[in-house]
């Protein structure tokens, strides 16, 4: 697990949550970024998995190192009531869909809505169309993704966790955006973002809503 470089004191932690439909490649995307590796039949994530990698942004002045703490969630998990726990206090959120599945884009839209309603308005949301290496099976055009991103004012990338296209670029640009928008800043005590995690569990999504969103 511990493939990321050791954390130094000046690393700025940034919590990034990865959301999206089952099997769109959330874990693969995170693994590609963190370990520069691709496993064809990546196991289904159950609950969540946690990965981190520090990235130095040398062209910033002064140069900074961001430690991306990736909270990779399960796609099929029916425990949607848990979702707020994942995106609460997140600096960035990747909403991933699969370009070979139109349905996964619709799921992505519902995730964007969810984030708009409940997440911190500061959270930078990135719409990610994954599996762009599977051009022949494409069901979602680049334009469709871009349109949605523009409408919702999101960052947008098409990536391939398999061949690595745009994966590093996505995270580097996300880091830059986080800095420029002041979501994270060097020298800021981490506790200020952490404190949002302390909301009592009573404030979770009400039960009725959980049932409504159940995808069966």
């Amino acid at each position: 697990m511990a493939s990321a470089s050791p954390t130094r004191a000046k690393d700025i932690p940034a919590k990034i949550v990865v959301l999206g439909e089952s099997a769109v490649g959330k874990s693969s995307l995170a693994l590609r970024f963190v370990r520069r590796d691709f496993i064809p039949n990546q196991e289904a994530t159950i609950g969540a998995s946690f990965l981190s990698r520090s990235v130095s942004l040398v062209d910033e002045s002064p140069p900074v190192t961001i430690k991306f703490e990736i909270w990779d969630t399960a796609g099929q998990e029916r425990y949607r009531a848990l979702a707020p726990m994942y995106y609460r206090g997140a600096a960035g959120a990747l909403v991933v869909y699969d370009i070979t599945s139109a349905d996964s884009l619709r799921k992505a839209e519902s995730w964007i809505g969810e984030l708009r309603r409940n997440a911190d308005p500061q959270t930078v949301v990135v719409l990610v169309g994954n599996k762009c290496d599977l051009e022949s099976m494409r069901q979602v055009s680049i334009q469709q993704g871009q349109d949605l991103a523009e409408k919702e004012e999101l960052l947008f990338y098409e990536t391939s966790a398999k061949d690595g296209t745009n994966v590093d670029a996505l995270f580097t640009n996300l880091g830059k955006t986080l800095l420029s928008r002041g979501v994270i800043a060097s020298g800021v005590d981490r506790r200020s973002t952490m404190s949002r995690n302390l909301q009592p569990p009573g404030s979770r999504t009400p039960k009725s809503e959980q049932q409504k969103r159940c995808d069966c």
Partner: protein
Amino acid sequence: MKWCDTPLYHALKSLDLNRRLVSASLDGSLAEPAVDDSDSTTLPNGIDDPHYFSRSVLWRIFLSVLTVPYTGTSIDNVVASWCPRLFALRAQYASQKQQFHQCYPEFGNVDEVASTMEDMALAEVDEVLVTQNRQSLRGSVGLARLMLTMSCATNSRRSSIGKGKSPLESCSDQVAEDIISLDIKRTYLTNDPEVPHHSLFNILTVWRWLHPVIGYHQGMHEIAGICLQVLSRAAVAMPDDCPPEVAECANAAFREADAYYLFDGIMSTFGLAELFHATTVVGSQNLRTNVGNFGDGGSLSERPAMTALESVCEHVAFHMLRDHSTTLYHHLANTNMFDKLLVFLPRWIRNMFTRELTMPQLVIVWDGVFGVFYNDEVRREDRRRHQGNGSTGSSGNIAAFRRSTTIPTVYAGTAGSTPQLDEDEDAALHIPFSRTALGVVVALLLHIEDDLLELDDDFSLLRRLTSTPIVSPMVDASWIMNNAMAIANTRPLGVIPIHRRRESIATAENVSRAAASASATRLTKEELMLQQRSVALVVERVTKRIADCMEVDLEDTTSSRGNTSVRLTESNVAVIRGALRELQCVADRLSFL
């Protein structure tokens, strides 16, 4: 390995003599490698582990797929009773599978369709027996037919089939099937020829179809995968000189059907399905009060309703963990991990450690968990019969299932090896799941305690708590299991501010072993106190147990049923023997201390 050397044979043999079945399989004979390997660094890789054969049958006994009669009959009689049931189940599965694939909504009489299909399936079973040259078992096919006809009259099995939806009726069903096939494609069992994709797919889709309320959830595919794998290995590991009735239990031709019932046993009988049920409300004001009292996280108790899974997670954290390591408990509380219990614990519990442990460790843990479950069920059943009151089932699910199954009623005299579970205590806590499995969770948490105490931010903690596997593959699973059983059966001790309790939380035998090994390092004063405390607890428990069976005896003589009192006396002798053994261990420890 010869048939008469297998743990299964020994388990059945001990059943024959003194009606103890579980103790034989839990005392380590199943857990330890058969061949004494001098090279202790090599782990049994499992594939040719001869225990898989015994394991596959014992698990089915533990989960009431196969049953064992009450009175001590010969092993031959016990195993002879299995074949008709196996055939009936296989026919039932074949028929259900066919109904699922073809769907007969237009047929009014589902029963008729089902019985026709079962007849056809039995004919196929018969045919397989002929081709495999197992003619001696063909008589069981007739018995199986009889069983199916009778079960049709007595339970609602078939009408429930009619209620299942056709796979084509709604698109959400189609989606579920897509998810199942996707999950199967990408499980770690994928490249294993022991786990054929189509079998795994059939098992999961048929089960899902018959249990529309619970449906399919990710994670089930791994449980079913393990079932298939164990049965595949059972066929390989089967001793050549097995009686044909026993060999039939591992007949590779019916691996899928057998795996289905093993999986169903884990889901329905053992009650794992309950934890997959997202909307089950545990109607336990009690539990919430308890959680509120025990835990510092009082806010959790204000929630209106909890699913079974949530209440189990909270029980682990606020009750069991707190009792066994206050240091870790407070550390997790201070780092706000209890807000995030549901991020990591569900996978541990609901997947039954398929991701947390390696296969050789996993099966040993399952041996113990299922064995204790069976043990407790049998004891409960015994008590119920004794009280002449069959309606005290604390777990409705199991009770309902049992009404339609032959209840295995072996007296499980494991007094010596596992502490007795106090039923009242169990019922009062309303834990809708196996205490032993939860004991494993705590044992694993205690095992990685040092790692966890070093981490103080939520991300690092979560990363450690979700790492796969959670402990080194070299960790001895039977050691984990022993700790888990001790943890599961420990009564609340109150707060003891001691960091290292794991050496001291163990069964009597283990404690004496641990104490012996600790002699080299010298115990601290605190540890000494703990040892004394646990000695006192053992003595108290043993005294109570002996007192209990004295009472039973007195009651029984008044009923003036000659043979009943003989049987009870026998079982009481076993209890008292066990108690004496435990006291002997305590005496050993005292002399050491």
